[in-house]
Amino acid sequence: MKSKPLAGIRILELGAYISAPYAGSLLCALGAEVVKVEPPQGGDAFRRGLNEKSPYFIQYNAGKKSIAVNLKDPAGVTLIKSLLPRFDVVLENFRPGKMAALGLGADQCREINPRLIYASVSGFGDGGPMRDRPAYDSIGQSMGGLYSILNDEGVPRLTGTCMADLITAISAAMGILAALVGRELDPLREGVCMETSLLESVSLLTIDAMTQREELGASPTRQSRHPQGQNFCLKTASGESITVHLSSSQKFWEALVRSLDRYDLLENPAYATFHQRVVCHKNLTAILQDEFATRPFADLAALLAQADVPFAPVMDLQGLLHDPQMQWLGLLGSETGNTNIVCPPWRFAGVRPSRPDLPPRVGEHTAAIAYEVLTEDELNALTARQAVS
């Protein structure tokens, strides 16, 4: 199964919401067996009282298993500890110190299973002045700088999606994969504690702006990068908008103006070189906007495609669902055709890892997993004292 390269890897996920569960979900789609440890009452808070019916919960948890364990009961913690030797990865996003207080910190778990990879996801890291502060996605986006670079100067706004949570989950999955490879290469085959946080992981998205900050000598904002990128977002006569990105290419610049029959711009010395066009970006935007406003979207799309100009429609997500390129990629859709399920963005030997569309009910797999380490009597005793359900 080339599209499931992680088959055989087992992940114990003690995580809620997105920043850990999406990491688990990506690894699950890659073939890992992900067992989610949830509180018996209601499970992951992201189920929002809907158990396995919450669409957000489905997106990040389809294909996982669930065991319901009361971690406030020492017997529940003991059960988790006895499962550790049977897992490769622990993935958690409790607040710093919480897992250690339960007896399930990195050192405690790795003492039980030295080959364990302990992946810890937090808001700001396990130290520093912000260690103990609560954090959700917007806190990570705001603190990480996204709200300043994605908005115009002096106009702070929220963004349209939970970029901090998502990039943190992606970053956690990357860290886990590196730790797994490292363990295979280590002669002693030892695992490691891998930590990341919202604040750290958002740097994956702000790295270019951070670079630009040094060049500008000031913090960049939404429009700072567009002159040097030669980016334009232009409304067409029929109402749709088109994005054009020319970069420093002379060829694409010439192709664009030729496709618009604006040979005069080619002869205008003010726009002769890339560096001049960077300076004149505002003027150019106005000129191009006037041109685009005279032509309907379909005509422009045909012209730009013919001229090999890098462009795209400003797509909304409804449009994306029906886009022929997206359909060729087969990114959307579960094994049973549920188009709400987004599959991971890789193909192995041409095959995209598939995803089921059913998440587990809370505690659906408690008995099956517990029997790996408990006898029936032991499990009955745990159930009776409500340490598991």
Partner: protein, 382 residues
């Protein structure tokens, strides 16, 4: 550093195949931990540690695995190990609570090696036996020995070591390789009987093609053929002859000063006794040293039969440093020789419990558990 550096092996102290297998793995750099019982007051024969060559490269921890703390210590070690080998009779490890299922609760990747004579199943599984019994049932023993006399056990090389310890080591490494892909350990049921039977593969073919006469001392490789056997020399020693191919046989006769025209046809089995007598008479005319010199650097396939104490002194063995001397004790070097990461003899055999404290600290036994086990006497340190 040997090629198995990083491989952690628990050897529950036993006899025959398990210590030999542990030596093979340890020679190649594995971290082999021998789990000894606690020192017993009524020990019969005290074994001299420095001559326990099969325990070189190992460390020792002494555990009472029947005690709950001792079992907990063993399971903490299991959590850290790649391999566990035991040589109990089938079912004993389970009764002690250290069977495969018990261990997999602590480490699902553990490869669980079980060395026995008869195997884990079958009507003889729980019957006592030794090397000679197992090789008897494999058919190998019947093939070895002089014509007209009882079979001769070839030491315990075939059962304990060749068919036992070596096959066990091979099976363990096969399963470790597989576990790295599957993340799951498995049981390696290494019966000496299975291993010796596997060693006999070619002879099963010979038997069915009629190339194996069902009598000892009557075949190509069992001393029957005059050109494949041992000959006494003037000084009461022996030369080993293995001139199977015609061109090598010609060189043999040339070295012996014999004219092929005057000898019986070597391909005529009926003539083998006559041919053997002719060769015997010639070999008796000179000493082993004379013949050794005569055949040196020829392709006659003739070698002196050396006594064990003579092995180290042979020029070829000297050139290859066949034997090592460690702490004044002569012993075979690790084999085979790997070019980039060869095996080595890093340490001598441990005393029972010599490394109890060191190993508990290094192999992740929780300090509280280690203290409890020491104070209750579940583990002992020497």
């Amino acid at each position: 550093m040997g090629p198995l550096r990083g491989l952690k092996v628990i050897e529950l102290a036993g006899l025959g195949p398990t210590p030999f297998c542990g030596m093979l793995l340890g020679d190649m750099g594995a971290d082999v931990l021998r789990v000894d019982r606690l020192a017993e007051s009524d020990l019969g024969v005290q074994f001299s540690t420095e001559y326990d060559l099969r325990s070189r490269n190992k460390r020792s921890i002494a555990i009472d695995i029947k005690s709950s703390e001792g079992k907990a210590v063993l399971m903490a070690l299991v959590a850290n190990a790649d391999i566990l080998v035991e040589g109990f009779r089938p079912g004993v490890a389970e009764r002690l609570g250290v069977g495969p299922e018990d261990c997999w609760k602590h480490n699902r990747r553990l490869v669980y090696g079980r060395a026995t004579g008869w195997g884990q199943t079958g009507p003889l599984a729980n019957v006592a036996g030794h090397d000679i019994n197992y090789i008897a049932l494999s058919g190998a023993l019947a093939c070895i020995g002089p014509a007209g006399a009882a079979p001769v056990p070839p030491l315990n090389l075939l059962g304990d070591y060749g068919g036992g310890g070596l096959y066990l080591a091979f099976g363990l490494l096969c399963a470790v390789h597989e576990a790295r892909a599957s993340n799951e350990g498995q049981v390696v049921d290494a019966a000496m009987l299975d291993g010796v039977s596997s060693l006999m593969t070619v002879f099963h073919a010979f038997e069915q093609t009629g190339d194996l006469v069902p009598r000892r001392g009557a075949n190509l490789l069992d001393g029957g053929a005059p050109y494949y056997g041992c000959y006494a020399t003037l000084d009461g020693k022996y030369m080993a002859v293995g001139a199977i191919e015609a061109k090598f046989y010609a060189i043999l006769l040339d070295g012996l000063g014999l004219d092929p025209q005057t000898l019986p046809n070597r391909d005529d089995r009926a003539q083998w006794p006559a041919l053997r007598s002719a060769l015997e008479a010639v070999f008796l005319t000179h000493t082993r040293a004379d013949w050794t010199e005569r055949f040196a650097q020829t392709d006659a396939c003739v070698s002196p039969v050396l006594e064990l104490h003579e092995v180290a002194g042979h020029p070829h063995n000297q050139a290859r440093a066949l034997l090592a001397e460690v702490n004044g004790i002569r012993q075979p070097r690790p084999a085979p020789r790997l070019s980039r990461t060869p095996g080595q003899i890093a340490r001598g055999a441990p005393q029972r419990g010599e490394h109890t404290l060191e190993v508990m600290a290094q192999w992740g036994v929780a300090p509280a558990l280690a203290d409890a086990a020491l104070s209750t006497g579940a583990v002992a340190s020497s």
